[in-house]
Each structure stands twice: as structure tokens, then as C-alpha cells.
Assembly symmetry: C2
Homo-oligomer: 359 residues x 2
């Protein structure tokens, strides 16, 4: 597909998914109009001294929580965690949540146990913030503060623009807590432009590499630090749109057992960043290659991984904490192209609905 090619016609399998991938730069810029609301939420957390961040969500939302751990850790140096919903909601355990900021993540705002968790956390003394694409949803009205994702309707079942906009909300919140909101906001604007520029070439590259993966049944997706969220999200896209048993792993965890499962028919996708996590990711990639696995390299330091059969680099944003806004996109595009090649409709995977009401 050349840069001038139009998108597939509406109604073609995967057309919505691909269109929403392309809408991400504009969605990110729309979000920046709500920067004031995000700054006010951060001010409230500072005023209450609510310094333990508890993130809750499922699926892609839970993947953004893995990013939040690093955003809050690196910018304001606050401890953030993916909290155990089951402990509070199913086991009915009363925890003292004073001093905590709870961030409920759900694009639909309807995920039942996330809503229930947020209601209980608010009663237990936490500052509660909803991050959702539906400002009228139950989650938005249950939390004390609601931040709209402003991604406009997302119709494909597999999340794309709500995922990157949630990452951006978490980065902005962390930035404002650290007094660096303006820097993060400017970085997101620039990242949206970088993404817009690189999207056509990434789409061509992803579409051009899927053929050898048509019969792939399983993959590992390796990331570490800020890019572990990206590894989780790319693996989830492959599972839900391509029916590939893709498992996300940190670079170190690969060595603690899973590497033994690799063989030449079990590819590994590795996401590399030019920071202190590069060496462990390089080591993991080398272990995978030693087991005969085909290696796909992506991320801002994709070219630093030796022996990759396929390389999908993305531009480096500033601050580097924003790289996951860009580095998930090669995985989204690969999932779209592979689903098409396998005859699957990425817009409507079998067995899934857009709003998941499972508890």
C-alpha cells in the first residue's frame, strides 16, 4: 500500500480498527484541551497528600496501569500499583484508603467491578478519579473527579485510541504532580505529530511483513520498564484480533522459565528503549535467538537489537517517558494486517463485545 492509498472501504474486515489506529494523533490533540481538568485533579491529590496511587482496570485499561506505575514513579516519584480488585470487591476486605489516590480506568465507564471498587474506595477515604471515554457513565459519576478521554466513539472491539489517550492522561497527571505538566503536554502534542508523520510508513512495513506469520500460533512480547505496558497491549491485540497465543513478559522473566518453550516456530517480539533497560532487553533477545526464535524488534531503540528478522522503529519523543504513545502503534498495525491475512475481522472478534460486563 503506498502512502497515497486510501484506507480500506468502510465495512471491510478490520476497516474500523485501522481507521481508529489512524485517528490516534488527532485523539491525542483533542485530549490536550482537557489539560486543565487533569491539572485540577493533580492539585487535589497534592492538597490531600494522597500519595499512594491505586490503579484499577481490565484488559487494555489494565495495560495502561502498567504504564502508570512508571509515569508516577519517574515524574513525582510517587508509588503506584495495580491494585487487587478482587480483594476489595469479591472478598469484601475493608482496607484503609486514606492517603490513596484511586484511578479507575474503563473506556466504557461500565466495567462492573471497577465501578464497585471505586465506590468502595471513595467510602474508605481515597481520592477517586475516573478516566473514561464516557463522561456520563456510571464510573464517571461514582468517582469524585472524572477525566474524559475525548477519544470520540471507538467502534472496533480492540481498543486503540482510548488506550493511547489513557496513557496520555496518566502522563499528564504525573507531570502535573511533579510540576512538569507543561513539558508533558508539549511532549504529547509533538508525539502526536511524530505519530502522524510515521503512520503511513509503519503501515506499509507492518503489512509487508505478516505473510510468514500467517500460521503462527504463539508469540512472546518482551518489554521492560515503561515499555512493559506496550508489550502487554501488543500481546492483547494479537490475542483478540489474530487468535495468536501471545504472552507479554518482562525481559528478565523470559529467562526465569519461559525461554525454555521457544523454538523456530515461536517468534518473539521485543520492544527496545535507549535507556538502562536496553541491556536486559538485548540479553533477552539474544536468548530468544539462541533458541531459534524469529525476532521482531520495535520501539525507539529497535535498531539496537542484533539478529532481528524484522525491525519497526518509532521516533523518540521528549520526555522519553512518552515513547509508549508511539511504540504500541507498530503492534496495532501488525495485528490489523495479520488479522486481514488470516481472514479474521479485527473489528469484531468472535466471542467479544465492545463493552465487557464480566465481573
Amino acid at each position: 500500500m503506498s502512502q497515497a492509498d486510501p484506507l480500506p472501504p468502510a465495512g471491510a474486515p478490520g476497516a474500523r480498527f485501522l481507521a481508529e489506529i489512524h485517528e490516534q494523533p488527532a485523539a491525542l490533540r483533542r485530549l490536550l484541551a482537557h489539560d486543565d481538568a487533569i491539572a485540577r485533579a493533580a492539585a487535589l491529590a497534592l492538597e490531600r497528600d494522597a500519595r499512594l496511587i491505586r490503579l484499577v482496570g481490565h484488559g487494555s485499561s489494565d495495560n495502561t496501569a502498567s504504564y502508570g506505575i512508571y509515569a508516577f514513579g519517574l515524574l513525582p516519584r510517587w508509588t503506584a500499583m495495580r491494585d487487587a480488585i478482587t480483594l476489595t470487591v469479591h472478598y469484601d476486605t475493608p482496607l484503609d484508603m486514606s492517603g490513596s489516590t484511586v484511578i479507575g480506568l474503563s473506556q466504557s465507564g461500565q466495567t462492573p467491578d471497577v465501578v464497585e471498587y471505586v465506590a468502595r474506595a471513595r467510602a474508605a477515604g481515597a481520592l477517586t478519579i475516573a478516566v473514561t471515554n464516557d463522561p456520563g457513565s456510571e464510573l464517571a459519576t461514582t468517582a469524585e473527579v472524572a477525566i474524559p478521554l475525548s477519544a470520540e466513539p471507538e467502534l472496533a472491539v480492540a481498543a486503540t485510541k482510548t488506550y493511547v489517550n489513557t496513557l496520555a492522561v496518566l502522563a499528564l497527571l504525573a507531570g502535573h504532580l511533579a510540576g512538569r505538566g507543561a513539558e508533558v503536554s508539549a511532549g504529547i502534542r509533538r508525539a502526536s505529530e511524530q505519530l502522524e508523520e510515521v503512520l503511513p510508513a509503519l503501515e506499509r512495513a507492518a503489512a509487508g511483513m505478516v505473510l510468514p506469520f500467517v500460521y503462527t500460533g504463539r508469540m512472546f512480547v518482551i518489554g521492560r520498564g515503561v515499555e512493559f505496558a506496550t508489550a502487554r497491549e501488543i500481546a492483547l491485540k494479537l490475542l483478540e484480533t489474530c487468535r495468536v497465543a501471545a504472552e507479554p513478559l518482562t525481559a528478565t522473566d523470559l529467562a526465569h522459565g519461559p525461554v525454555a518453550a521457544l523454538d523456530p516456530l515461536f517468534p518473539v517480539w521485543a520492544i527496545a528503549s535507549p535507556d538502562a533497560t536496553l541491556a536486559p532487553v538485548q540479553e533477552a533477545a539474544a536468548r530468544a535467538r539462541a533458541m531459534g526464535a524469529t525476532l521482531v524488534a520495535s520501539g525507539t531503540a529497535a535498531t539496537e537489537l542484533d539478529g532481528a528478522a524484522y525491525v519497526l522503529p518509532v521516533p523518540s519523543p521528549t520526555p522519553p517517558l512518552l515513547s509508549p504513545l508511539l511504540s504500541v502503534v507498530p503492534g496495532q498495525l501488525f495485528a490489523w494486517a495479520l488479522a486481514c491475512a488470516r481472514g479474521l475481522d479485527a473489528d469484531a472478534p468472535h466471542g467479544l463485545a465492545k463493552i465487557t460486563l464480566a465481573r
Copy 2:
């Protein structure tokens, strides 16, 4: 294999792994001799009011951390988390750790980034506790307090007795923090007896069911709450000893995407408990069946899952929080039997060493 059958001869593939599975009841009882040391560690955490528990480890040790979240949440009602090692060690982020208890988990006591994390956490004001099978290891000497696992040497690469003994340490610590140490200790003793009684029958059942799985390339292992650790550990055993791409998922997360990947050649193992998590696990199992997946049911409420092709129930310990001491064992035995059937040596998987020094 009848109850009276001897274990395979030493040196046979998987013989160490199987022998160590059988040593678990005795290992648990050995640990109870160190209950005083565990009580003293708990007293220190209470004295320092170090109420945020940060658990760090990789592989099986990290799986026990998923259990710790529930043990500390359910008994003393303290918040526990699997902390981000990368944030502290690789990104060099100074976090305020006063008010935190750090628990470093490593059977060898040599995992480099766990040792480094514990050293930094101690300098940052945390109470640091090492849980390791080697009381002379670097981890043990780096932490302020060391609790020995007393599992005796574990020679198979895939952890078994160090895993269940680590679970028991975490349960005892949580019990002492809640003033219920004696109850937990008595429960562990009784659980070790229940395990000893049921092991021969479980081994026969697991060995008798592996044939249809000989060509299985991928599986999901579903658990929730206290049994999510079990799901993670069973999946890891299948990955490292059987080369099955087994991914652990919570019951709810299955519905948020991965269910779309299922088909009749993609079995699902579900672990059921007779508590508030039963309904979501039943719902997940039904979704898996609806996609045509073969269902394996285990756990203390295994018989409550409809449509399971294979059922591996375990006895119910008291308190129920101890069920993961038993419920991991059907998965260990299945992994041993499947590795044998596939001609793999579970004692020495390709590409792995007993002590993992990857950072």
C-alpha cells in the same frame, strides 16, 4: 501407577522434579520449626508501623508475590504489591520507602536485581526481609531480616518445594501480623498432611490424563483472588517443563480479549475456590467451553465447574487462604507427566539453569 509404585529411578528424566513434588509435605513441616523467626519479623514490622508491603521476585518467586497480596490483604488488611524492580534498580528512581516492609523473594538468594532492589530499599528506610532457601546468600545478608525456606536443596530447575514453602512463609507472616499466627501454623501442618494423603491419587489422575495433551501448543490457566498465584505457577511449570505456551489470566481478564483466541485445540485450565470468586470463574469456564475449548478443572471447588473434561480436586484446608499450598500440586504433577509423555526432561529444561542471573 498404583499407590504402591516406587518413584522413577534417580536419573530418569523428570525424576528429581517428581521427587521434589513428593517432598513438599515434609518441607512444609520443616518450615514450621522457623515459625519463631517469622513471628519476630512480623513483630518488627508492627513496631516500625511499616504497613505497605512491597514484594519483589522473578519467576516462581514473583508468583508467590501474587499470593502475598491476598495473604496480607485478608489477614492483617495491609496493602501489599508486587513492586516495580526496574523503577528502582534500572531507572535509579529514589522512592521514599519509610513505612514500607520490603520482602525480597529468591530461592537461590542470588537474583541480582532483587538483591540490588533490597539494598536500595534498606537505604531508603524500608524494613527489609529476605525469604530464601540459602541463609548464607547475598540476599540474606543484604536484608535486615532473613527467613530461611528450609526446603533443603532443590535440584530440579522447575521450583516446587521452594514455591510452596514461600507461600507458607507469606501466610505465616500475614498471620502473625494479624495475631493469628498459631491458627495459620496449625493450618499449614494440617495442609501438609492433607497433601501427603492426596498425592498418590493426584499423581495417578494427572498421569492418566496427559495423552490427549501431547500435541497441545497453548493453554490458558485461569484463577482469581488467592488462586491467581496458582494459575501463574501452573502456567510457568507448563512453559518451562513442557514447552506449552501457557498464559495465566484472571477469570475476568479472559473476557476482556483473550477468549477470542480459543478453539477446540486451545485447552483452558481453571482453578475454582468455594468463595465469592467462584461465580466469575464459572462464568469464565463457560465462555471457554462456548468457544469449544477443552476444560480442566482443579482447586478445592473443582467439581463446581460444569463441562470439565478432567477434574482434579484437592482437599480444603483451614483457613481457606491456605488452599494454594494444595492446589498447585495437580499442575506440578500434570507438568511432570506431560513432560515425560513428550519426551522432555523436566529436571533440566533446554535453555534454563537453576540459578538465574539475568538482570
